[in-house]
């Protein structure tokens, strides 16, 4: 828990307390902003999406079901807002579902279809130095995959929390995350073997 984090009175907040809601805004803005920026790739757009997310959250407090965490519920609203903004702007990712499928490893009768060459120390060093490669690779993922990577691997939410936020099963979170990681591996490999 960050040093600045204060304990929220969830009951008062759900009862409409603006004081408690504004504590939530102060407490959750940094992480929510990071998640949204990574989703939409634009600071200005992320600002307005974040503001709209908090407004929607306040207006929909009565829809909060106590079986999930309040913050998870808030991220669900933020992710939906970010998806809607991407759709509205007709901004597409560089990769689509077919590309993701193509970047999964292939097997013949259960065994690797081709040989997997180990990355050399030089290639490993190059990957560690070129951090921008990883950043750009994540940005290329289709939204369904990107949001799982952002929440699970970057923001370190639990599988349960990601499943709740995205309203999918834990198994579906794991499958998406696995496919996303395999796609990222392939994207990174395509750069270092050039």
């Amino acid at each position: 828990m960050p040093a600045t984090e204060t304990v929220l009175d969830v009951e008062a907040l759900l009862g409409g307390s603006k004081q408690e809601f504004e504590k939530l805004v102060r407490q959750e803005s940094p992480r929510l902003f990071r998640v949204i920026v990574r989703m939409v790739g634009d600071d200005d757009e992320a600002r307005s999406i974040m503001q709209e997310t908090f407004l929607q959250a306040y207006q929909r407090l009565d829809t909060f079901r106590r079986e999930s965490k309040l913050t998870t519920w808030l991220y669900a609203i933020g992710i939906n807002q970010a998806r809607a903004a991407l759709r509205k702007a007709k901004r597409t990712s560089s990769l689509d579902d077919q590309d993701v499928e193509r970047m999964q490893p292939t097997f013949t009768k259960g065994m690797f279809a081709g040989s997997v060459d180990a990355w050399s120390p030089l290639q490993m060093a190059e990957l560690s130095e070129r951090k921008r490669l990883v950043h750009d690779a994540i940005a290329k993922l289709p939204p369904d995959y990107k949001e799982v990577v952002i929440m699970r691997d970057i923001e370190q939410l639990s599988t349960d929390e990601v499943a709740e936020a995205l309203k999918i099963s834990n198994g579906a979170v794991r499958v998406r995350l696995h496919r996303a990681r395999q796609t990222l591996r392939e994207l990174l490999y395509s750069h270092i073997r050039e």
């Binding site: 974040m50 306040y58 490893p105 690797f112 990681r181 990222l184």
Partner: protein
């Protein structure tokens, strides 16, 4: 490949494809003890899966380092957000 498949089968070990499907669970330390043991024994005998696992783990570590790629919240954004909320009729009521 046929020989490798035969050897894995004789040793009672999962196929490369099964091992691949275990990667995320293994990384989360959520594999049952028996599966984890079979996963690790397969990796010791299979250079393809061993190389692939190493690359998969490296990828995850590099992605996790994105956390350090700081996206700072603009100084005034929280205050602007609160002003935005207070200026909205449904919030101000």
């Amino acid at each position: 490949m046929i020989l490798k498949r035969f050897m894995m089968k004789v040793a009672g070990l999962p196929s490369c494809e099964q091992v691949n499907s275990f990667l995320a669970l293994y990384m989360d330390d959520e594999l049952a003890e028996e599966d984890r043991s079979a996963f690790e024994r397969h990796l010791r005998r299979c250079k393809d899966c061993s190389a692939y696992f190493h690359q998969y783990r490296t990828t995850v570590e590099l992605v996790q380092q994105e956390r350090e790629y700081d996206i700072a919240l603009p100084d005034e954004l929280i205050e602007h957000t609160l002003e935005f909320l207070r200026s909205n009729a449904t919030y101000a009521d």
